[in-house]
Symmetry: C2
């Protein structure tokens, strides 16, 4: 089957999807667009897309449009795409986003006359790197992909998007956009806050002690890895998921304070109980 | 050269040292002891040591004694070993520890008549697993090893211990035990607190939401990895390094609160500045 995929935002996620959708025979043609001309050019040279074209042309030529830009820009672009679907009576085309927050964008598109041709999704995979150079094959293999508010979309559109994610070897999980934002605050957004704060704490100290990083162990590298993630992506995620994130940060601060208090009191029994409880994560995360 | 190494505590660190010291021809014979008979038996069966013997016998037969037990037990064992050196006039033997905190043990052994035959060290390597089954070759390769208070030890003893760590392919860094404890509070102990607290936060939520872990991404797995670390090891580290750790936790809570405030205020400029600053970690950690 001949299938053209259009990708708006040729970074880590869009680029990695392109790599596998082509390699696994799902996309016969890939067209892309990126507001940053350097990224667009690199994406072509790297062979992620066959060519770069303006948004309107991408929409016209593509069967499925993937919007993989920071969450601050995604809603507007998806809306533009849906507008074009409406103006051109493109009743078979589909647009999907891959954003890390889902409720705000859902709200904005709720009453669009072509809402049913939009499928909200979030493939939960990534690295701390960004840009088309960071694209890699197999990025999504075995990871979870959330499809949000599926009943707001045409079931045929949902089926097509599910098929696309199955080609990427993802486990599909359905939930509402509101649930999505609660869950990701816990399992993704908080990890980033904790890692950024860890980096800032150690960097603060490093101002006086130039050699502190000589000593960075594997454990530190692992907990601080996400602190390499970039602001373009994470600033809008944090503000768009404000309410959930604030609640989760407050719980996290309470847990840190539990440790602080137990250490301050030399309360070894309490420390042991906290660590034993935290160790339960072993049963859950491989 | 025939060299017998005695290991007290046949867990991840002692066991991994045994593997490489034998494989790389440094130790011709390895004797071990462990207060847990299951560990001792497993260490024999796994071939980490040639045999298990009581502490006194280990001391008599070994050229170098490695004490690799939790920090709560280490000072007493090193003291026993030094007592035996004194009672038997073992002037050539060496005892070294591998503990993650150094100031308390240094304080306790300060005036021991055989203090100079003790070398305080901390090979900064490990995994979140424990026990002899967790021992692995190459664990120390390329990592930093701190030797603390070297001028309190005979220079010949320090040279021997440095040689041993070079066989393990470690970069040797010298500092005082007080500096060591400050530095490790930043680059190791805080990472563990942040990771334990992250696990507790998410586990709390999971009581209501059974499926939250379906969504755990690679980022979460990486930041929560250290939360699998065990209480036997970490409770005494946290209490022995109490003052440094409290100071570091307080800075960390301040940084988390900086994020919280910026999110609460929708202050995107502030969030961007915090993340950009945290990103400086990229220049420092590979």
């Amino acid at each position: 089957m001949e299938r053209t995929i259009g990708i708006v935002g040729l970074g880590l996620i869009g680029g990695s999807m392109a790599v596998d959708l082509r390699a696994r025979g799902y996309a016969s043609r890939l067209i892309g667009t990126d507001r940053n001309p350097l990224n667009a050019e690199a994406a072509c040279r790297l062979g992620l897309v066959d060519r770069v074209a303006p948004l309107e042309e991408c929409i016209k030529e593509s069967d499925i449009m993937i919007v993989s830009v920071p969450v601050s820009a995604a809603a507007e672009i998806v809306q533009k795409v849906l507008d074009a679907f409406k103006d051109n009576a493109f009743t078979e085309k589909i647009v999907m986003d891959v954003c890390s927050t889902k409720a705000q964008i859902a709200e904005r598109l709720k009453y669009h006359p072509c809402r049913k041709r939009y499928v909200a999704s979030h493939p939960m995979a990534g690295t701390e790197h960004n840009g088309p150079w960071a694209a890699q094959p197999g990025l999504f293999d075995g990871r979870a992909c959330i499809i949000a508010d599926a009943d707001e979309s045409d079931s045929s559109a949902v089926r097509s998007v599910e098929e696309l994610y199955r080609v990427l070897n993802m486990r599909i999980v359905h939930m509402t956009s509101a649930s999505h934002d609660v869950h990701t605050a816990y399992v993704s957004h908080l990890s980033h806050v904790s890692s950024f704060a860890l980096a800032l704490t150690v960097l603060d100290k490093e101002k006086d002690e130039k050699h502190i990083f000589d000593l960075a162990s594997g454990g530190f590298s692992s907990t601080v890895r996400l602190a390499k993630s970039n602001a373009d992506m994470w600033v809008p995620i944090f503000t768009q998921n404000r309410e959930n994130l604030l609640r989760v940060i407050d719980t996290y601060i309470d847990k840190i304070k539990d440790f602080r208090e137990a250490v301050a009191d030399y309360d070894e029994a309490r420390l042991r109980a906290l660590i034993d409880e935290a160790n339960r994560i072993k049963k859950i995360i491989r």
